[in-house]
């Protein structure tokens, strides 16, 4: 399996407040993400999961690192590598004065997807895939929160990026909507012959068990990888299936034993 993203010897610390010492987030963290994998970064709040996405996207500079490698190139030397990525945030972050389609176009224009003539086709394809084709010309306030989040996934996916960074995209949704969204996301990911690399952040063990092809478990800060396992289980995965429930149990056990977190 080819490595798509590699973070080498990552060190990140923020200055402490009111004379307190530095707040260390990572000390020599190393992480390789396989091409075409659905890698889930699983960890408690505040352990620096989202920060890892920001570093991977070049939005945040680490205190030090021997490499932030994307497709064999260091992102710091070749920032255009970040154009291979699109980001889905916790909130939809849609511009309220633009329709859902115009919001998707905003991303297309930003990442300068060429040729421009194919934008309309791309938008129709992905808005249809998430069941929003009839709502493309609606403004965000005219649709539900779940539909807004679906539109934000389209904004990322229309760019057909090689890497998708997803930061707890369903954590603000009710469980029924979130379950639908997970299914839509897995369907989108599986429909392409060459699967995109997804780095998905969550603190939800059940969500990780249901979606991941690779699970990376992080300890509370200063964060390190305390457990990692590939998941060779076909999709779609039913939440109540024995395999998924067993995996959840295994992950809870790992949290207790490796990260010292009691449930």
């Amino acid at each position: 399996m080819t490595v798509k993203v590699s973070l080498r010897d990552l060190h990140l610390a923020f200055p402490g407040r009111d004379g307190a010492g530095d707040k260390v987030i990572y000390e020599n963290l190393n992480l390789d993400i396989d091409e075409g994998s659905f890698t889930v970064l699983l960890g408690p709040s505040g352990c620096g999961k989202s920060t890892l996405l920001n570093i991977t996207n070049g939005l945040l500079k680490p205190t030090s690192a021997s490499g932030i490698i994307v497709d064999g190139n260091d992102l710091r030397d070749q920032p255009e590598m970040s154009r291979k990525m699109a980001y889905v945030f916790q909130g939809a972050r849609l511009l309220r004065w633009k329709t859902l389609a115009q919001n998707a176009e905003f991303g297309l224009a930003g990442l300068n997807v060429q040729p421009k003539e194919k934008w309309q086709g791309l938008m129709e394809k992905y808005f249809s895939a998430v069941g929003l084709k009839d709502y493309m010309n609606h403004y965000p306030h005219q649709v539900s929160g779940g539909m807004q989040q679906r539109a934000s996934i389209v904004r990322a996916w229309v760019n057909e990026p090689e890497i998708l960074l997803m930061d707890e995209p369903f954590s603000h949704l009710d469980e029924i909507t979130a379950a639908t969204m997970r299914r839509i996301l897995i369907d989108l990911w599986r429909q392409d012959e060459t699967r995109r690399t997804i780095i998905f952040v969550t603190h939800d063990i059940a969500e990780a068990a249901q979606m991941a092809s690779d699970i990376v478990m992080l300890t509370p800060a200063p964060s390190s990888i305390c457990y990692r396992r590939k998941v060779d289980m076909p999709w779609p995965r039913a939440m109540e299936s024995d395999e998924v429930i067993d995996l959840e149990k295994e992950l809870r056990r790992a949290f207790s034993e490796k990260a010292g977190i009691r449930f």
């Binding site: 996207n57 939005l59 970040s82 154009r83 699109a86 980001y87 945030f89 909130g91 972050r93 511009l95 309220r96 004065w97 633009k98 905003f106 991303g107 224009a109 930003g110 990442l111 300068n112 403004y139 306030h141 904004r155």
Partner: protein, 249 residues
């Protein structure tokens, strides 16, 4: 808002205007005093001014000063607001200056400017700009402070270039507060022009009010005042119409 809802809203507004005029008419008829002529007399005087064409010269003079002064104040205020929201040091440096400008009574400014610069159109235009600019500036500055930094993060992550961020993100965000500030600012400009004319101008609506007051022609005074208010209402409605057309989201 649907057409029927808007019709309902307009009907209520029209009914309130009719009630005000009716109340005025009844009060005038009951009190029977020169200090409050009946609405019918005042509107007849106004009708005469419009029919003779006497209303348009003063109206145009005041309107021209107001529009030019407001445009200058609006431009300067918007520029100030954007700068103050973007550069914290600039905001701190100018904060008290702007506060002083807002707190200073408009009448004092009018006297000072008329004495210092003289009774020219330029004086009134500068005066209006000076009164309107701090109000617009603080409004825009405070509105921009409410801009969601998460949207900025989204734009950065999607590598949206600056010009597209300005046209696609900041400007549309600013349009509603700019329109709201514009409506308030224009009313303020109109009042400053009116006051400046009362105190030192040989033409304009304010001057006409002063003239009618000096000969104790209360019906004439109120007729000019009504013309002032009707024009203001018309402009306000026009601005609301533009706002509805522009802000569709």
């Amino acid at each position: 808002m649907t057409a029927s809802m808007r019709l309902k809203e307009y009907s209520a507004q029209l009914a309130s205007l009719v009630l005000i005029i009716l109340g005025w008419e009844i009060a005038a008829q009951t009190m029977n005093t020169n200090a409050l002529p009946p609405a019918s007399t005042v509107f007849a005087t106004l009708g005469g001014l419009v029919a003779d064409g006497d209303a348009f010269g003063p109206l145009f003079s005041t309107l021209l000063r107001t529009v030019l002064g407001f445009a200058l104040g609006f431009l300067l205020g918007t520029a100030y607001g954007i700068f103050a929201a973007t550069f914290k040091t600039f905001d701190e440096l100018t904060k008290w200056l702007i506060q002083i400008a807002i707190f200073t009574p408009t009448l004092i400014l009018i006297f000072l400017f008329l004495v210092a610069i003289g009774r020219t159109n330029f004086t009134v235009i500068i005066l209006i700009a000076l009164v309107v600019m701090p109000m617009i500036g603080t409004y825009i500055r405070d509105a921009l402070k409410d801009f969601d930094p998460d949207l900025e993060g989204m734009a950065v992550s999607y590598k949206v270039p600056l010009h597209q961020r300005v046209t696609g993100m900041y400007l549309p965000f600013l349009i509603p507060p700019m329109l709201a500030a514009g409506r308030i600012g224009f009313t303020l400009s109109w009042k400053v022009a009116f006051l400046a004319e009362i105190f030192g101008f040989p033409n304009g609506l304010g001057w006409q009010v002063r003239q009618t007051y000096q000969i104790y022609n209360v019906a004439g005074l109120l007729a000019w005042l009504c013309l002032f208010i009707i024009t203001l209402i018309a402009i306000e409605q026009l601005m609301r119409f533009v706002e509805r057309r522009v802000v569709t989201w």
